[in-house]
Symmetry: C2
Subunit: 335 residues, 2 copies
C-alpha cells in the first residue's frame, strides 16, 4: 500500500512559524476515479506569501484551515491516469502543495513541456515567480529606457527576474539584498548596475541616493519596512512603486508602523500599486511566452536552491525568512 | 501715491503657523511698462498646500523664500494696461498671491469670463479647486456606477466638488467631515448618501464599514493620518486611492507615523496615487469646460466662505487648519 505523506497546518503562528506550526501525517492514497489522475510529487515550491495564508484573515487567497494540507505550487509525475487528457509519465503543475501524492481532477493540473527547460523552472522563472516579475514590473512599474529601477529582495526568486527584465528594457538597475554574496551574484551574473547590502549599510537612504544619481523612477518592492522607507525618500517625480511583497512584516507580532506615505506620493505625484499575479490571470500566456523566449535566447538567467527531502519542507520554508537563498527555493521530494 | 500692501514669509513655521510667520509691508506700486498690466487685487485664495511651501524642502512647487510675498491664486481688476491683450476693467486670474496690487507681465495672468459665474468661482469650483477634484476623482479614482466613493475632508473646497462629481457618475458617496453642520450640508445640500463625523465617532473604522455596506471602491484622500488608516481597512479588491492632500500632517512637528500601507495594497490589489492639478496641465480646458457645464446645468453646487479685508488673510489661512469652513475659503480685499 502506498502511503501519502502530508504536512498540515497544526497551529496558526504568531511571529515566525516554528515546529509547532506544522504537523506530519500519513494517509492512504486515494485511487483515482474517472476523470482523475494520481500524481507523485516531484518538487514543491515554498513561497513567502504562504506565511500570509497561515493567519485567519481575508486576503487575495483564502487562509489555510487548521489541519489542511499546506497548499501551494507543486510539480508531479502522473503515476496512474483515469483521464483521457493525461498519460502515465506526464509531468503536471498544480497547487496541491505539501504532500507526496495527490489525486487530482483533470482540470486541477496542467501538463508542462519538458523540452523548453528543466521542469523545476515551471515553479520558478517560467511559473508564478517569473510571471509575478513580468507583470509587476511591466504593467505597474512601466520602466522606460534609461530610467532607474530599484528592487528590494533583489536576489530572491522574483527580484532576480525583475532586474533582468528591467535590463532587457534598457533601464539602470539597482538591487538591494542582504549579503555581499548575493550582491556579487546580482552584479556579476545578472549584470545589475549596482547592488546595495542593506545589512552592512550605515545609511541606506544615502547609499540608495549614491547608487541612483538620477533618482528612482521605478521601485519594485518585495520587502516593505525600513528598506522601503529609505527608497521612498529617493523617488523621482512620477515614480511608480510596484508593491509585490512585504516580507519584513510577515512575521511581526505587532502592527507594522512607519512613516505614512501620503505626503511623499503627493509631492512627487507617485503611483503605488499592490498586485498579485492573479490580477493578470487572463494574460498569463503572454507572460509565459515572453519569459520562455528570453530564457531560450539566453537573456534571462535563473538560480535555484533545491533542498532534498520531503521532511525538509518546513525548514526550507523557514529559510525564506532567513534570507539565505538566492533565486527560487524548491524542495525535491524523495522517491 | 498708491501703496501696495504685501504679506511676506517672515519665518518658517514649526508646527502651526502663527503671527510670527507673517510680515506686513507696504511698498510703492510699480508702474507697468510695455506688455505689462497693473492689477488691483480683488480676491485671494488661501489653500492648505501653501503650508507645504513654507518649509524649505523640494516639492511640486518651489518653497517660498523668506521675505517673499506669499504667492497663490488671486483675482484682480486691471487698473492700468500697457498690453494690447488687456483693457482697464478686465478681471484676471494669476498666482500673484497676498498683495493688494501687482504689476504683471501679460502672459502671467489670464482673463476670466464674468458671464459664466461669479468671478470668485475662478478661485474655487471653476479654478484649481474644481480641477483638482475633477482630475483626481475621474483620472485616478475612476468611479464606476454603483461603486462606493469615500471622501475625507468632504466639506472642504475640493472634497465637496469630488462628492458631487461622484454622484453625477452614479456612485454611492460617503463623506467624512468634522462637524454635524458640515455633514448636514453634505447630505441635504449636496445629496451625499452618508456622512460621518470623525470627531464624534467612537470607532471610525466601524462607522465607515456601516456607511459602506459594499466596501470602499474609491477613496479620495484630503487628510491622511488616522482617518485614512480607518478608510484603508475598508477597501475593496481593486480599490483606488486618489491622494490629494494630507492636511492632518502639515503642521506636525514630528514625523507622520502610522501603519505602513504595503500589505493592504497587496492583499486587495489597490492602486494609490498622489497627484496635483499640475499633472494635468495639458488637459485643463477639458476639465474647465466640464465643470462650467455642470455648474450651468445646476448639477454642481458650491459654497464659499468669504472673509473681508486684506489684513485678515493670515487668519483666514489659519482657519483652514481649524476645520471651521465649508467649501472654498477666500479673502475679499478691501478697496
Amino acid at each position: 500500500m502506498t502511503i501519502n505523506k502530508k504536512i498540515l497546518l497544526a497551529k496558526r503562528p504568531k511571529g515566525l512559524p516554528d515546529k509547532d506550526t506544522f504537523k506530519f501525517v500519513e494517509t492512504e492514497i486515494i485511487k483515482p476515479e474517472k476523470g482523475e489522475v494520481l500524481i507523485r510529487t516531484l518538487y514543491v515550491s515554498v513561497d513567502p506569501y504562504m506565511r500570509g495564508r497561515m493567519i485567519d484573515a481575508p486576503s487575495y487567497v483564502p487562509p489555510y484551515q487548521l489541519d489542511d494540507v499546506l497548499g501551494g505550487g507543486a510539480l508531479g509525475e502522473i503515476v496512474e491516469s483515469k483521464s483521457d487528457q493525461f498519460e502515465q509519465g506526464d509531468i503536471v503543475l498544480g497547487s496541491f502543495g505539501w504532500q507526496s501524492y495527490y489525486t487530482a481532477k483533470q482540470d486541477e493540473v496542467r501538463k508542462v513541456d519538458k523540452d523548453i527547460a528543466p521542469i523545476s523552472t515551471y515553479l520558478g522563472i517560467l511559473g508564478m515567480t517569473g510571471l509575478t516579475a513580468y507583470f509587476g514590473l511591466l504593467d505597474i512599474g512601466k520602466p522606460k529606457e534609461g530610467e532607474t529601477v530599484v528592487i528590494s529582495g533583489a536576489a530572491g526568486a522574483v527580484g532576480s527576474v525583475v532586474g533582468q527584465i528591467a535590463k532587457i528594457k534598457g533601464a539602470r538597475v539597482v538591487g538591494i539584498a542582504g549579503t555581499d554574496e548575493k550582491n556579487q551574484y546580482l552584479k556579476e551574473e545578472l549584470h545589475f548596475d549596482e547592488a546595495i547590502n542593506y545589512k552592512t549599510s550605515t545609511n541606506l537612504q544615502e547609499d540608495i541616493a549614491k547608487a541612483c544619481p538620477n533618482g528612482v523612477d521605478v521601485y519594485f518592492d518585495n520587502v516593505g519596512g525600513e528598506i522601503s522607507d529609505a527608497v521612498h525618500t529617493n523617488l523621482n517625480k512620477y515614480a511608480r512603486i510596484s508593491v509585490c511583497g512585504a516580507i519584513s512584516s510577515y512575521n511581526l507580532k505587532e502592527e507594522d508602523i512607519g512613516p505614512r506615505i501620503q505626503t511623499t506620493l503627493i509631492k512627487k505625484s507617485v503611483l503605488m500599486q499592490g498586485f498579485t499575479v492573479g490580477d493578470f490571470a487572463n494574460r498569463l500566456a503572454e507572460g509565459s511566452e515572453a519569459l520562455a523566449k528570453w530564457l531560450q535566447d539566453g537573456k534571462l538567467k535563473y538560480e535555484e536552491t533545491i533542498i532534498d527531502g520531503f521532511d525538509n519542507i518546513p525548514d526550507a520554508f523557514l529559510d525564506l525568512f532567513e534570507g539565505n537563498n538566492i533565486g527560487k527555493l524548491l524542495v525535491k521530494v524523495d522517491k
